[in-house]
Symmetry: C2
Subunit: 335 residues, 2 copies
C-alpha cells in the first residue's frame, strides 16, 4: 500500500520503532524501573526473562503511534504503552502455565525455569503494576477502556478453555475467543493512545477498529501458521494447537465440511484426545482437501483490509502510513 | 472492651452483618451480577463455588463499616466492598494453585474440582472485574490505594515463595509477607471506606492503621492455629504450613532460640524438606520448649491492641465499638 519499494526493505515495525525511538527508549526505561521489586528479587528475574527476550514491543508501539499521530505532546502515552506491555507479559506468564508450555520465543518458559507458582504470582504482580501505571495518568476513560479490555482478555481465555476439545465450536465462538485473547489488547492499545491525545470520538473509534481488526488478522495468521501455513509443511512450531486440541479457524472450517469419516477422525483426535503417529499429517491432508487453510487465509486478508480501511478515518500522517503497512506485514507470512 | 455481656453472645462479625444488612444484601447482589459471564459459564461456576461457600465477607464488611461510620450516604461503598471481595476471591484461587491445596473452607478447592487452568484464568477474570467496579466510582484516590494494595499483595506472595524453606527468614521478613498476603487488603478495605466517605486525613490514616493491625493479628492467629494454638493439640488443620515448609512466626521464634540439634532438625524438615513420621509432633515439642507459641500469641494480642487504639482517632459510633470488638474477636481463638 504505502511506502516505496526502498522503504519496504525494512519491516514496518522496525520503521515504527525508528520513528518512535525516543518514546520507546523512555518506555523501556519505565518498564525496567517498574518491574523491579525491592523485596522480592524473583520478580525482576522472571519478568526480565520474558521482557528482555526480544519481544517486538508491538503493542506499546501501537499506543505510542496512535498518540503521536494525533499530535499528543505529553508523556502519559509512555505510561500507557508500558501498561499495555505489562498486561501482555502477565498474560504470557499465565498462558504458559495454562498451556503447560515449555518454550516461548525460542527459550524455555518461566514456568519451566522457575515453577508454575512464580509464573502465576509474578503475572499477578505485573497486572498490579500495570494498574498502578495507568492510574498515574489520572484519566478515567483510559482506566475504563483498560479495565474492560482486561476483563475481555480473561473471559476470552476461559472461553478458549471450554471451547477447546469441542467440535461444536464455530467461527462465531472462534472470533470471540481471539478477540479476547489477542484483539482486545491491540484495540485497547490504539484506543487509549487516541484518548490520551484528546482525539475526537470518530478518530478514537477508528483507532479501536484498526487495533481490533489488526489483532484479529494477527491471531488468524498465527493459527494458520500452526498448521504450516500455505505450504502446509511441518515446521518446528507446527501442530502445537493440534496437540493442545484447540479449535482454531482452519480446523473449524474443515470440520464444517467434514465427511462422516473425517468427523470421526476429528472426534478422536480433538474431542477424545486420542492422537497417534501420523495424525497431524492426516489433519493437514484433510485441511488441504477442503481448502481450509486457503479460506482461513482469505479471512485474515479481509481483516487486514478492514484494519487499513479504518485508518481512512484518521488524518494523513507518516505514522498512519506505517500503521497501514503494518496491517499488510501482519498477513505477509501467509501470502 | 465495648459491648455488654449480652451483646457479646453474638460474634462481632455477626453483629456487624446485622448492622450492615441492607448494604450487605446489595453487595451480595452486586457480586452475583458481576461474577456472571455471558460467554464463559465456567466463570460463574468456579466463582460461585468459592463465593457461596460461606465465607464470612469480613473484608467487604470492613469497607461498608468504615464508610457508614463516617456518615457516608451514597452507594459507591458497595462497589468498593464488592471490589475487595473479588480481589480476595481471586487471590484465594491463585493461592490454591500455588499451594497445591486440596481443601478450602471444608470443601474441595476449585483447582481440584476443575483444574489449575480454570483457577488461574477465573482469578484473572475476577481481578479484572474488581478493577471495572472500582473504576466505576470515578475516585482516583481510591484507585490509587487499591492499585498499590494489589501490588503489595502480589509482592508479598512472591516474597513468601522465596522466604519459605529458608531458615534465614526473620520476623521482619515475616511481617512483610503477612502485610502483603493479608493486611494489605484489610487496610485498603478500611481506608477506601474512609476516602469514599470524604473523611479527614487523620481519620483515613486511622482507618488504614486499624485495618493493617487487624490484618496482621488475624494472620498471626492463623499461623499460630496451624500449630494447634495454645493447646498444641493436633487438629484437622494442624501442620499445613509445616508440610509446605513455610516459615511462620512460631517457627521463626523457635529457630532464633534453637540449639545445634534443633537447628539440624529445622534444616532437615524446612530447608531440605525431608519430613518423616513424628516430625510435626517434634516441631510442636520444640515450639513449646521455647515458648514460641506463647510469644507469637503475645505479638498477636499486641497487634489487636494497636488495632483498637487506632480507633481512638475516629468519632464515637456504634460501628466503631463493633470494630473494636472485632479486634478482640480475631485473637479470641488463641486466648
Amino acid at each position: 500500500m504505502d511506502g516505496s519499494g526502498e522503504a519496504k526493505a525494512k519491516a514496518p515495525q522496525d520503521r515504527l520503532a525508528e520513528w518512535l525511538a525516543e518514546d520507546m527508549a523512555a518506555v523501556n526505561a519505565l518498564i525496567r524501573e517498574r518491574m523491579a521489586s525491592e523485596h522480592a528479587p524473583r520478580i525482576p528475574q522472571v519478568t526480565a526473562h520474558l521482557i528482555e527476550a526480544g519481544g517486538k514491543r508491538l503493542r506499546p508501539m501501537l499506543t505510542l503511534a496512535a498518540a503521536r499521530m494525533l499530535g499528543y505532546q505529553g508523556t502519559d502515552h509512555r505510561k500507557l504503552a508500558a501498561t499495555v506491555e505489562f498486561i501482555h507479559t502477565a498474560t504470557l506468564l499465565h498462558d504458559d502455565v495454562v498451556d503447560e508450555s515449555k518454550r516461548r520465543r525460542g527459550r524455555p518458559t518461566a514456568n519451566l525455569l522457575w515453577d508454575n507458582k512464580s509464573s502465576v504470582l509474578v503475572g499477578d504482580y505485573l497486572f498490579s503494576r500495570s494498574f498502578q501505571l495507568m492510574v498515574e495518568t489520572g484519566n478515567l476513560r483510559v482506566l475504563d477502556i483498560l479495565a474492560n479490555a482486561s476483563a475481555t482478555i480473561a473471559e476470552g481465555e476461559v472461553l478458549q478453555l471450554t471451547a477447546a476439545q469441542d467440535l461444536r465450536t464455530d467461527e462465531a465462538i472462534y472470533l470471540q475467543v481471539i478477540r479476547g485473547k489477542t484483539a482486545a489488547l491491540f484495540s485497547a492499545a490504539t484506543e487509549v493512545g487516541g484518548v490520551i491525545a484528546g482525539a475526537p470520538e470518530a478518530e478514537v473509534r477508528a483507532l479501536f477498529d484498526y487495533g481490533d481488526a489488526l489483532g484479529i488478522a494477527f491471531q488468524m495468521v498465527d493459527d494458520i501458521l500452526d498448521y504450516g501455513g500455505q505450504d502446509a509443511v511441518i515446521g518446528k512450531n507446527t501442530g502445537d494447537d493440534f496437540r493442545e486440541r484447540k479449535l482454531t479457524l482452519p480446523v473449524i472450517k474443515a470440520v464444517a465440511k467434514a465427511t462422516a469419516e473425517e468427523r470421526a477422525f476429528w472426534h478422536r483426535v480433538i474431542e477424545q484426545g486420542d492422537q497417534r503417529e501420523g495424525d497431524l499429517e492426516m489433519a493437514m491432508t484433510i485441511l488441504s482437501r477442503h481448502g481450509a487453510i486457503a479460506a482461513a487465509r482469505e479471512d485474515a486478508i479481509a481483516w487486514a483490509g478492514r484494519a487499513r480501511a479504518a485508518l481512512d478515518n484518521l488524518p494523513a500522517h507518516q505514522l498512519r502510513a506505517l500503521l497501514s503497512d503494518l496491517a499488510d506485514f501482519v498477513i505477509e507470512r501467509v501470502l
